[in-house]
Amino acid sequence: MPKQTSRRVVFQPATYLGFQRGINQIVEVIRPTLGPLPRMVAIEPTFRARTPELLDDGGVISRRITELPDRDEDMGAMFIRHVLWRLHEDVGDGTATAAVLFQSIYNRSLRYIVAGGNAMVFRHHLEKGLQLILDRLSGMTTRLDGKRQLAHVAESISHDHELAIVLGEVLDIIGEYGQLQIRTGRRREIEREYVSGAYWGSGLLSREMITDHTRLRTQIDNAAILISDIDIEDPYHLAPVLSAVAHAGIPGLLVIAGGVSERVTALLLVNRTSGKFGTIAVKTPGGIADRPGTLEDLAILTGGRPILKATGETVKGVNLQDLGRARRVWADASGFGIVGGKGDPCALRGRIASLRSALTLAEDGSDRELLRQRIGNLMGGLATLSVGGLMQPEVEARKELAKRTCEALRGVIREGVVPGGGVSLLACRSALQSALGQCTDPDGQAAYRVLIRALEEPTRTIITNAGFDAAEVMSEINAAGGGRGFDVISERVVHMSEAGIWDAAAVQKAVVHRAITATALALTIDVLVHRKKPPQTADNP
């Protein structure tokens, strides 16, 4: 039987109209959540007995909308949904700002293009305007330092005072790259814990190796480390290594391996001498894709050589020079740590620098997360945040908020802050005004006008959401002069930087970049092609 290949094809003006309606529906759902006094959006639960999910995060809200009934509208909705979710994953904040910016630019641009404007030339000028805005934002960026300033920004992002204070301290300590685990806590308040050294979430291969039965972990000082991804089946392969370590007077051996047989486990256990010689075996950390890189990191950190399954080596031929060394190694059921690796610090410095370069080039969110984890591990230190609460939905929401705020704070450390409340975007209007004055092309002039108006949209929305008249307050702000905006908490026009109201510069730049590039792309969509059968509904995490 032949495959069903027929499609429904939609041309202009139906393309623009359908796409626009879909975009507007998503943005109007997210719009009320912008600002420090957001409205909530209630999402119908999956199961009838459960209460609605109350959300104020644009990224998560857009993710919850998986389908619109009209298929033309659905394509527009899914387009903006994808843009917002990617932004959410990459920088953790700014989705509502991006949504209102996108909508303003798209709707006004569409009006111009439908009236006869050249979409391609218009797009080119939008992108030129984007560069002017990014340059202007860079020019007004201020570096922040210290837990108090970070906590201040955290509070403006999360509107959760307790969480902001803790995250300010934690991010001040772990920095841009440091590892942070966010767990469900047992107590109502938020707790944090710091662990020195590098940590991998790959635990003991046998619980019998636990020597500290109070803390359920085991530790060796000045240990040797066998770094490998090989499944060690034969105890006779490992015995010479163990013997060499013991004869060298080294107090213990950490075996990192793909797996160990019961006989190898028995060999390791039988060779333990209380207080004199320790043995630990843990599973090789990392997934298939990142395992070689992780083993290389371990080797550089500890001064050892990775023994890789792929090269056909076995542990039988390993000698002392192949083993890494560290001041302290420890392991429990869920992971292992290395403190004071004895690798060459200059090689380590080079490794960290190359991973940082790779991070700046990485585009995929999960690749970036993996690279950041690796950098954090090599730099040393792990912080754990335990988030508690009365009910599970509250805890989960707070954990998600902590994660999102943490991402934004990493951006603050990396790139600094700009005045908050949309004021940084208002300040970019003058650069576009100058460009408009010099531009003779009608499509260019239209593009700059659209951008100038769109840059006001986040501030207007914040004001409206807080229950004030946007037109009235905007005229107050414009009269008050540069750097000033509306503090919806104190209900006054204030100098935002002096009042400590900031936005993360990295977030603001990402917001503007995504909103404008996505609009520029959306404006050039002329035809929609539907499959005969609609695709499966998008995953809804």
């Binding site: 020195s196 000082d221 302290r328 730099m379 040393g380």
Partner: protein
């Protein structure tokens, strides 16, 4: 009784009472223990007599409280711990550092030690340990400090407000702006490391000036908190910079003293020009430490520690 230096001995560091001009008290941390002088460094006695130890207790660092006249507090770094004296170095209490036993390389006290009780020790293999109760309890804080071989450490004079300190390591220089709880690598060229000595301008919070002495590449200065570095004394200050001292009035009085293995160099113009002051050394002796307890005026005495364990007043 004056101590006799042993040939394999070395003076690791020298510290003097802030009131040295009047009380003449100073200490020299040596491979053979800790020496104490009460006459401005002319004669020296063991400060460990009360400990009754049979073998020499290698002491790798010593620091005196900024409020020594009132609190009589001295700290000495040894293998595995820190000794604290609250009677000017006559009797000692041991604070054990967390296992595995670290070897202390340097000790710095908060300029506001009398009030905040904060002090930090750097170690040769285990990074930095902090105490905020005057040396009773210690915690290891090495977030971001991926090179844990600490060779030098210096603290901002405005530590109580800027919480800033620097460490020099095998591979470069790290800065903490939160009192030593976390560290960030600063832009010091890797090929110039190890960094054996560090000195911060007393006005660091305003002028961002710090000096770094290296093991084999001479002396460097940054005037922007470590973002960029320029070499000082090129062709003059060569070899390992074992010690660095800035005038307490720097930059108003821009005097800088550098000790290399064979010479003392002094600059009166923040490092632009240098004059060599080669002290008369006993045969086969090299300079390993220096202190300027009365400042860097032409007539002020210097205390110079040597490989071999001698301490000279020059």
């Amino acid at each position: 009784m004056t101590e006799t230096p042993q040939s394999q001995d070395i003076v690791y560091s020298i510290a003097a009472s802030p009131n040295f001009r009047q009380d003449g008290i100073c200490f020299a941390a040596r491979g053979a223990g800790l020496s104490r002088s009460e006459d401005g460094g002319i004669t020296w006695q063991s400060a460990y007599q009360a400990l009754n130890v049979e073998d020499p207790l290698m002491t790798t660092s010593v620091a005196v409280s900024p409020d020594f006249e009132a609190d009589q507090t001295v700290f000495a770094g040894i293998h595995g711990g820190v000794l604290r004296s609250v009677d000017g170095g006559r009797t000692w209490q041991l604070a054990v550092l967390p296992s595995p036993p670290p070897l202390v390389s340097t000790i710095v006290l908060s300029p506001n030690f009398a009030r905040d009780g904060a002090l930090l020790v750097g170690t040769f293999e285990d990074g930095v340990f902090l105490s905020d109760d005057g040396g009773g309890r210690w915690q290891q804080w090495n977030f971001g400090l991926w090179d844990m071989s600490i060779l030098s450490m210096n603290i901002s004079h405005d530590f109580s407000s800027d919480a800033t300190l620097f460490v020099g390591t095998e591979s470069g220089v790290f800065r903490s702006t939160n009192g030593g709880r976390s560290w960030r690598e600063i832009n010091f060229p890797a090929d110039l490391a190890p960094v054996t000595s560090l000195a911060l301008s007393p006005a660091y919070a305003r002028d961002g000036t710090l000096f770094a002495g290296t093991e084999s590449c001479g002396l460097y200065c940054s005037r922007n908190g470590g973002e960029s570095w320029t070499q000082l004394g090129k062709g003059t200050v060569t070899g390992a910079v074992n010690a660095l001292v800035l005038s307490s009035q720097f930059p108003v009085e821009p005097h800088v003293l550098v000790a290399t293995a064979s010479s003392l160099f002094i600059s009166r113009d923040a490092g632009h020009s240098w004059s060599c002051a080669r002290p008369e050394l006993p045969p086969n002796r090299a300079l390993s430490a220096v202190a300027a307890p009365q400042g860097l005026h032409a007539t002020a005495p210097l205390l110079v520690g040597l490989v071999g364990g001698d301490t000279l007043r020059v």
